[in-house]
Amino acid sequence: MDERYIRNLGALTEAECALLRTKTVFVAGCGGLGGFLIEMLLRLGVGAIRAADGDAFEASNLNRQLLSSPQALGMPKAEAAAARAALVNPDVRFEAIGEFMTEKNAPELIRGCDAVLDALDNIQARRTLARACAEEGIPLIHGAICGWSAQAAVIMPGDDLIDRIYPEGAKLGSKTSLSFTPPFCAAMQAALCTRLLAGRPVESGRLYMADLLDMEWASLF
């Protein structure tokens, strides 16, 4: 076994680690959640990551987005993700796509992946991603943040959780987020993704919610 994954052992079996190295994941977004998800999946040791984001870094990203830095302002986020991947774990095949996800390109972007990670920042894009995952038959690992709060869930094809947690007309309030909320949420998603890809049981449609202000934890549905 490659020494770089030796500390995975115990928490994961050698067979599970080997299985993860055969998996391809799609990360939708390379911002707050996406940057940390990519970092965690690279270090965990999946086989390949495809990541898409059409945005470029701006100063307001610096309080929380791992891939951002003063030097990277104006740089495409997908490009920064590819540079980070090459630095952290060149053994993981990494494909960066500098495009926003749309109804049209979503199915093609995620096709062939074993899991899709939601690192988006708006409800409409999440509905588009969930539809594409259902059509392509790919499990979706949802994650979202606001302020001190984070939520995550595994959504297997056919599960309507996205419609239940974002009812028609639901409106996002403030865009506030603190430095520690995205990595906390990404950690929940990465853990769920690891369980799924390693073939361990996951509960589809169960929403895990964390409130870091009041240090409370809940699971719904």
């Binding site: 977004g29 911002g31 707050g32 959640l33 996406g34 939601d118 690192a119 988006l120 920042d121 708006n122 409800i123 999440r126 994650g143 979202a144 943040i145 606001c146 302020g147 001190w148 709060s149 984070a150 939520q151 239940r164 947690i165 974002y166 009812p167 007309g169 639901a170 409106k171 996002l172 309030g173 403030s174 865009k175 506030t176 987020s177 995205p182 929403l207 919610m209 409130d211 009041d214 809940a218 719904l220 549905f221």
Partner: protein, 73 residues
Amino acid sequence: MIEVRFFATLREGRGKITQVPAAEASTAADLLRRFEIPKEEVAILLINGFHSKPEDPVKDGDVISLFPPVGGG
């Protein structure tokens, strides 16, 4: 009494839990109006743990949980 539990940003200015006399609300929407919460700012509404809608009835002893949309990334 009806117990109303607020979560995440809905706690701001309202606290975590409050009690409302059952005679003062016949639906969950009545409770939203009482606490000045627009419907579009509630993503998940549970009545006694069950996924519900604002127009659903509420009664004495019910526990209502209100969660805002969490959608940033």
